[in-house]
Amino acid sequence: MKSAPLPLMLLILGLTFAFLYVPISVLVALSFNESGLPTAWTGFSVKWYGELARNGDILKAAGNTLIVALASTVVATTLGTLLAVGVEIRRRKGRFLETIIFAPMIIPDIVLAIALLSFFSLLNVTMGLHTIIVSHVVFNLAFVCAVVRARLKTFDWSVVEASQDLGASTLTTLRRVVLPVLSPAVVAGALLAFTLSVDEFIIAFFTAGAGRDSITLPMQIFAMIRFGVTPEINALSTIVMGLSVLMLTLSQRLNRGRLPGQ
């Protein structure tokens, strides 16, 4: 992209990130606000972090959310990528196929939530984190597939033919020719799926079953909404983001900044 003027690019990035991070700064600041009220700043304090450490419910819910998001992302990314590759290879584009692939994105989540709960009830399945994971995979899969397909539209299939002509099996071709090229898209899709899952409330609420063990963070926060967003929740969000930045820095150190597949 050498043709793009650098100052303009930096300006765009600066403005976008400012927009993205202004509300975040607000919530981080509020987590350190002594008074705990959004309307009055009474001083810097870390007491809410202490409160958070004592609040077993929130911490448990956060842990559950992480489990659900990780598990559903892994499954969805795998299935979704395979699906995307398979769809793009097929020469015949079935209308029916397209419908099914896009459906999870389009179906209103309340419909999916109630449908899944009714379905699981009908089959007398015990509900818990596993049912949430299964449900989250449904829509995550579709989003991963969409992202990967967008990349595949500009993929040069002649490399695949060349690889096959040279005697590589399909599996090897996929693994060593297609996948490396796709990896930025797969990673983007995985990030997308993880993000969607972490924030998802409705489907999680309905498919979690009744027990306390399967409450996810969005469910917990939504239930606590009677009293607005407490500073402990802001503290939790700050920690989550802080930890993520830490993880990223660590993984950068380990990979020495190489994009996967390079």
């Binding site: 892994v74 596993h130 009744a210 027990g211 306390r212 063990d213 917990q220 909404i225 009677r226």
Partner: protein, 348 residues
């Protein structure tokens, strides 16, 4: 390779999830609103009775109802829902027919609380808290309102500084009461008038809000809000200029109830729990903590008088409350209600 990097974590997390999902089943699952019981109520119950109850939360009646209907009540033992929803549970056959011999503490209730319209004789629900809906306002910023119209057609200074409850039935009730109609009115012409009144009210409204309206009062963003009496007490606790009043046209009598699910597999524990909550001490402790009136005579008689001084609406007697109408499930007309609310909310 990415796929290899993912496999091990995947196996681990799936293993964890399955483990978590099949953890030992609790003795009793109770679903309630956040902060609607004394904070140690469940622990105290567990200690006293040796049961192992756990509390899960729901933010609105609607979502817990949706879950119960879709799963036919499985998984939950006791739920706290408002009376129209308890009626629905009963009509759909999801509520347990109560065996009063297992609920001796029912005797603690006021007579009036055992003859509530939605469930005379407490056949499927036990009242937990009750109260009125009215106007909560900042007495230092605005005058005491007399009528519902002060909210629906506010003065110029008040315009843009009011909120109304977002929940369908109470949203409509404000209009119904202002017009002198029943809160269970089904006549289409009258409802059309109510609808038009409420659409007009949108022009001067700040927002529909049924969870953070008292915070708006405390911050001054709003000066008069449509509120349930107990909620208003939270505001009063933070700012003594806040006051609650029932407009002259009246209010509705709302009742939050406990329902045992027919599909419950822990009926004994469920009955013990409901009975425990109805105990004089426990129920009074609940009232003092959540600042709502409870329909328990034994509890209210022993209520700390200073509480009534600070929160006058807690002193409202059952006789006074019984003059107000209860919200009932309106059967067929529910569709019309739903449509009316859509019309109001969709209007520009």
């Amino acid at each position: 390779m990415i796929r290899q990097k993912f496999i091990t974590p995947a196996l681990l997390t799936t293993g964890l999830a399955l483990g978590a999902g099949t953890a030992m089943a609790e003795d009793l699952v109770v679903s309630n609103w956040d902060g609607y019981m004394a904070p140690d109520a469940i622990d105290a119950f567990n200690q006293e009775t040796g049961h192992d109850a756990e509390l899960v939360l729901h933010a609105t009646n609607e979502e817990i109802m949706g879950k119960l209907i879709a799963s036919k009540g499985k998984g939950y033992d006791v739920v706290f829902v408002s009376s129209p929803f308890a009626e629905v549970l009963h009509n759909l056959g999801l509520a347990e027919e109560l065996d009063h011999s297992r609920l001796p503490n029912l005797d603690n209730l006021y007579d009036a609380a055992t003859q509530l319209e939605h469930d005379t004789g407490n056949q499927f629900s036990v009242p937990y808290a009750w109260g009125t809906t009215g106007l909560c306002y900042r007495s230092d910023l605005t005058d005491a309102p007399q009528s519902w119209m002060a909210l629906l057609q506010p003065s110029d200074e008040l315009a843009g500084k009011t909120t109304m409850l977002a929940t369908d039935r109470w949203l409509l009730a404000a209009g119904q009461l202002a017009k002198g109609y029943s809160v269970n009115e089904t006549d289409p012409e009258k409802m059309a008038e109510v609808r038009d009144l409420l659409i007009e009210a949108k022009d001067t409204l700040l927002a529909y809000d049924d969870t953070t309206f008292y915070a708006k009062l405390v911050s001054g963003e709003a000066e008069m809000v449509h509120a349930w009496d107990g909620w208003c007490n939270y505001g009063i606790a933070e700012n003594s200029d806040i006051k609650y009043v029932i407009p002259e046209e009246g209010s509705d009598l709302w009742v939050d109830t406990m329902v045992i699910l027919k599909a419950s597999e822990n009926k004994d524990a469920a009955y013990d729990f409901v009975n425990y909550i109805l105990g004089a001490e426990t129920h009074r402790w609940a009232a003092e903590n959540i600042l709502y009136k409870v329909p328990n005579k034994a509890a209210m008689d022993g209520l700390d008088p200073s509480l009534i001084e600070t929160f006058p609406n807690m002193g409202l007697s059952p006789d006074e409350m019984m003059q107000y109408e209860q919200l009932r499930d309106v059967g067929e007309a529910q569709r019309a209600y739903s449509r009316t609310v859509s019309e109001i909310k969709a209007a520009d």
